[in-house]
């Protein structure tokens, strides 16, 4: 009686020993994310969590653009995700475009024995922007151009930009690598400067219009100085991100993660 009871209960459940890769590819190429999620959930319900399931879950998290879940599943897959060198390179490149800390977190989890040459170079590039004294000979010529650009601006001092803007309004912007803004800044400051000069010349300093003109000119002049000083910090971050984006684009893999 009890045997029959257990047999009856087990009847509706059929076990799937492994994930059907061709079926998963069919779901991916037809863009059926809901069914894909349901397929992996069903396998998990019936057979529990195992390494290859976590591997497929990690790849699904890439399609759904859930980066943290991808890292979580890749850790749970017991190195199965890391052994897919193409996937590691793909994700390293993708994370590098988003943030350095996320890339470092990801590469911290991947054992170095699974790093391809591209992943190695990505890590070296991150270390290079944090410490300019390291050897940059591994960089290709066009990446070297962006790196040199970053190093040039990284060496510049914000106070120099401020002083240059104080001497000639807008010159700090040229120092910061913004030539088009330099012309506009110079024209705007010249515009208000001549107004102030004419007002003081013809009406004297104690006239209300002279005070107003002087006030307006001072705001533009001082904002130019402080803005150039502050902008150089922004420019350094931009150059760093530009270099790292170029590295990510160069080392990204052309082999798709599903095929």
């Amino acid at each position: 009686m009890m045997t029959r009871f257990f047999l009856l209960l087990l009847c509706p459940f059929f076990t799937i020993a492994q994930v059907n890769e061709k079926f998963v590819n069919h779901l991916v190429f037809n863009d059926l994310l809901v069914e894909h999620e349901a397929y992996l959930s069903r396998i998990e319900e019936e057979c529990g969590s195992f390494d290859s399931l976590n591997y497929y879950r990690a790849k699904l998290a890439i399609l759904k653009k859930e980066d943290l879940k991808f890292i979580e599943y890749s850790l749970a897959s017991n190195n199965l995700v890391y052994s897919d060198t193409n996937l590691v390179t793909f994700m390293s490149s993708r994370f590098l475009k988003q943030s350095r800390s996320l890339t470092n977190r990801w590469l911290g989890n991947v054992p170095s024995s699974y790093w391809s040459l591209s992943t190695n170079n990505i890590k070296k590039s991150i270390l290079l922007v944090e410490n300019n004294t390291l050897d940059a000979s591994f960089l290709k010529p066009h990446l070297k151009f962006y790196y040199d650009d970053f190093v040039t601006y990284n060496k510049r001092k914000p106070w120099v930009a401020g002083v240059m803007s104080a001497i000639i309004p807008g010159l700090g912007k040229l120092y910061n690598g913004r030539p088009r803004s330099f012309r506009t800044s110079l024209l705007v400051n010249a515009f208000f400067g001549f107004q102030m000069y004419e007002a003081i010349n013809k009406r004297g300093i104690k006239n209300y219009y002279s005070i107003l003109s002087t006030g307006i000119f001072s705001v533009f002049y001082l904002s130019n100085i402080y803005g150039s000083y502050y902008d150089l910090k922004r420019v350094k971050i931009e150059k760093k991100k530009n270099f790292l984006n170029e590295v990510a684009n160069y080392y990204k893999t052309d082999i798709p993660i599903y095929y």
């Binding site: 059926l32 809901v34 069914e35 219009y209």
Partner: protein, 271 residues
Amino acid sequence: MKWLIIIKLTFLFTINVFGQDSINFILLNLEEQIFFAQNDTIKNDLYLEKFNFSICNNLEKEKLLFELNRVQEELLTDSTEHANYLWNAAIVTKINNEFTYSNMYFDAYIAETKDIFDDIKILGLLIKSEIDSAAYANFYLEYVNDTSFKCMECLNDLNNFVLPHKKGYVLASSIFPGLGTVLTGDFYNGLGSLILVPSSIIGAVNLWKGGLYYNAISWGIVSIPRLYLGNTNLTFEKVNQLEKRELSKLSVACKALYRDMLIKFPVFYRF
């Protein structure tokens, strides 16, 4: 033993009835059958079954459109099934703003079935009004031609609505800064234009009279054209907003009429 079978069957059916997860699993089961199907006819039947299932379970309109696009119409042999597919396709494409396809499916449905019940008239009027007024008029004359549906012309009127004297507002603002903006209903911005444009002119003239020639010319060149043209542009934007407000009011009334008609003659999916 009997009780065990009853409990097991109840368990199976309840799993399948309740919850979004169960819908996803059914979609998955259908997709698996599609994957393992031997030939295109069986696959197509399964595509149709999945499409109908998605409709029954009120899935997102993008998912419905996706499933619709997988069905191959030419492989549907049963005429009733084909007609129902065309009807459902007309509704799904309409909901997804694919009005050209919606019109195509609707015309194909009418050509196949030659039906012209009230729900068909309503859906037809909704679809034709999105194409153009000629299609709407032709459909009305040929298939509807019923005074009880006369009120539904409001949608066609909405499509052809134009605010009268649009250029008059802009002309008024060109002659008297801010007047056109005030006439559109935005009093504060109109007042702002009225204050700023003349005051910039007066300011420039006063600077010239005071001997500050560079100041007068520079402020005059920078501020006067900018404020004057800005005033006319603002009036133009406000006129467009006024037109949208009027259309919105008319559309509320028209939508209510259509809603009443849909209560009387509801449009259902067909299976």
